[in-house]
Symmetry: C2
């Protein structure tokens, strides 16, 4: 099975756990044995269980590449959108990537689906069925139609021609109000969850119709010149040969604290105490200090390095305008080489816990406006400072003046305390350099 997972943008609706660089799909909230996994990790694990040979390509922006490598390893395919150009260019680019980089034949089918559905294994069996249905060539597109459980206003609806498991599509309906949704469901309508399969050649030919390009590399190079246009508008609405395949299993779209806490296996994650009079309370605590919840009802509490949310569950769907007002430094991020957490912000200094994973290193870089000091608190590694190699161990201190080029390679997992010093400390003050051997 070939899969394109669409990994969307920054989600402020799950603040303070999501932020400009940590989208909701990367938050580790779901119990898997003794550990927690993110939505991305959960879905990827479920895919590999359904089909160990699945060729997975994640279509995403540059800002998520580090987090994806950190959470899924280096073997997953990533089709990086150089900038945001809506779903048609993104799907065209990822399809070209599968064909030209991964070497998948134009005759093979591929399934496109969001990276973050909260679903069980039967969902992935259905993805395989979608792929097989597309292979038959009875239609140019095969959509998943999700059996509605209530008259939702949040989804578009698909009206099938028949009530068979696989049917041609009669028509599509935009997100309706509740009354209209009820009438659609009475007619046998299905939710459109944005999951569909097609033969690679089909979307490539559609892409060549609309865009002048040679191959993946060429499309990638001119990506910023492309018109913003949705896949629905460019392809689906103009296509007459579309089938829908019914899916009646559990399917949750986790986009708010309210829906997310419904999917949690436990009342709390992290260092949390609750008294007996708490009712329908969920606490997610990423901080190193305890949270004590007493006498609360229908409340979600979420604490991270970015802030603390305490909200009635109903109200928690409306946090976005408040969170938009918060203009803060990113306090926690996962990078391809490990992660960092800002632990103290002062007027002219910043203290950061930096963790490098074993065998990884950061870019060789320098800063114009700040000095930095590293104190090694755990592990060992090798430094490159202004062209000079050195080795570091617990207790060692490295001082880097503004302009000094530096990087560190982790021989074991390596933990540093980084102190940044200067008047204009910003993430943008960073120049990358080539390492001369």
């Amino acid at each position: 099975m070939n899969l394109i997972l669409l990994s969307g943008g920054s989600g402020k609706r799950l603040w303070p756990l999501s932020n400009d660089i940590r989208s909701k799909q990367f938050i580790k909230l779901f119990k898997n044995q003794d550990d927690y996994e993110s939505m991305v990790q959960r879905v990827y694990r479920q895919i590999k269980k359904a089909d160990a040979d699945a060729v997975v390509t994640i279509a995403t922006s540059r800002s998520q590449v580090s987090a994806i490598h950190n959470q899924l390893g280096d073997s997953v395919g990533i089709s990086v959108e150089p900038c945001r150009r809506d779903t048609f260019p993104a799907i065209a680019l990822a399809t070209a990537y599968l064909h030209d980089v991964q070497g998948v034949s134009a005759d093979e089918s591929v399934v496109v689906c969001p990276v973050d559905p909260y679903v069980n294994d039967d969902y992935f069996e259905c993805l395989k069925a979608l792929c097989e249905q597309a292979d038959k060539g009875e239609a140019n597109l095969v959509l998943m139609g999700i059996q509605p459980t209530y008259p939702s206003e949040k989804y578009g609806y698909i009206i099938p021609k028949t009530d068979e498991r696989v049917s041609y599509v009669s028509t599509f309906k935009e997100k309706p109000d509740v009354k209209t949704a009820e009438s659609y469901i009475a007619e046998g309508a299905l939710w459109n969850g944005g999951v569909f399969a097609y033969k690679i050649g089909y979307v490539l030919s559609k892409a060549h119709e609309l865009i002048d390009f040679k191959d993946y590399y060429d499309l990638f190079a001119k990506y910023d010149t492309l018109t913003k246009i949705s896949f629905d508008y460019a392809v689906v609405e103009k296509e007459s040969r579309i089938q829908v395949l019914r899916f009646a299993g559990e399917w949750k779209d986790i986009g708010t604290w309210n829906t997310l806490t419904e999917a949690m296996d436990e009342q709390s994650i992290g260092d949390v105490m609750m008294n007996d009079s708490c009712e329908n309370v969920h606490v997610i605590n990423e901080l190193g200090v305890p949270v004590l919840a007493m006498g609360l009802k229908d409340v979600v509490i979420s604490a991270s390095s970015d802030g603390i949310l305490v909200s009635d569950k109903e109200s928690s769907s409306y946090i976005k305008p408040f969170v938009d007002k918060i203009d803060r430094q990113i306090m926690f991020a996962e990078k391809s080489w490990g992660s960092f957490r800002v632990i103290s912000v002062e007027e002219e200094s910043l203290v950061i816990n930096v963790t490098l994973n074993k065998g990884h290193f950061m870019n060789y870089h320098s800063h114009q406006h700040r000095d930095e000091v590293w104190v090694v608190v755990s592990g060992s590694g090798r430094t490159l400072i202004d062209g000079v190699y050195g080795s570091i161990n617990v207790g060692d201190v490295v001082k880097m003046k503004a302009g000094c080029k530096h990087t560190v390679f982790a021989d074991t997992q390596l933990k540093l305390v980084e102190v940044q010093l200067g008047k204009d400390i910003t993430v943008h003050d960073k120049t990358k350099h080539a390492i001369k051997e």
Copy 2:
């Protein structure tokens, strides 16, 4: 006016703002012009306003001395109890301190009162009146009788002989149930708020009757051998010549989050956002990240380096058993030289923000089991490291191996990031050393 302020022990009822070394009276929660002051600071300021020449002695344990000097400066008198021995030994020691150290005559009167009443200026006028009444010598003890505002079960009651402003006391009553309290109040009873005045010579002679000691220094030296006994039991219950002076002004005993938030001038302190649907919500946020409260009712939120409390206000009186379970490192403390805040705890390292006030220095000390690194992030100062003097400025790094003797003197306000490294990091691993000139 001579005043002994009794400064009590650690208050876990206001966790996470109070902890084993920061008692509730030191938390800065009360608005005074553009700044916030603690209960201790508020009371001290009110005393000095009522009587600029008041001789104030704070009777307290060793653990509070640093915080008192930090908040009130070095000129306030402190009678340090070497260990806890109940109120009679504490009052005897403080009285001897006034006589033998501060040079107050045995004929003069002194008022004893708790350090943390939430009151207005009329309370301090009443303290003066108590002192003047004691000066008259009509009674050996003059108590403040607070006009009850409701039949409280939390206080003892004083039954006066007459309904005059000053009256001899008929009898004392233990904390009653509500019904009994109602009947006391109908009889004209007053609350006993633990405030009283006496002539210094009176309590000294009582002390000499019960304890064999020469003077303050002798009493201090043998303090740990004294029997634990309350002032009520040792003196009040055996004394027949007691007067009570009525006080009808505002008087609040702030001991729980519930009563504390009632006394707050604002809904929130710190970086806090609240939506319009929040009702009777108070947020105190000492952390450097925002708190967002949405759709809550009758809730108190308090966030500090020690933890986060989110509680229904009613339930907030019952936090103690939960907080008792938390066995954690102190994360924030005010010292005589400044303050420290733990910003990161890892298995074998700790990162601390240290602030030294201008002109202050810490003890010359060493640690047996940990190395330390200082990174100067603001200000300048002078170090003494294993007998060698040096000077430090922003960006400088000082490395101290286990066993290394060290201290630093702040020429300006001085901020350090301290990294502690080792397997057994504890506050008890500290040896003080004399500085040889």
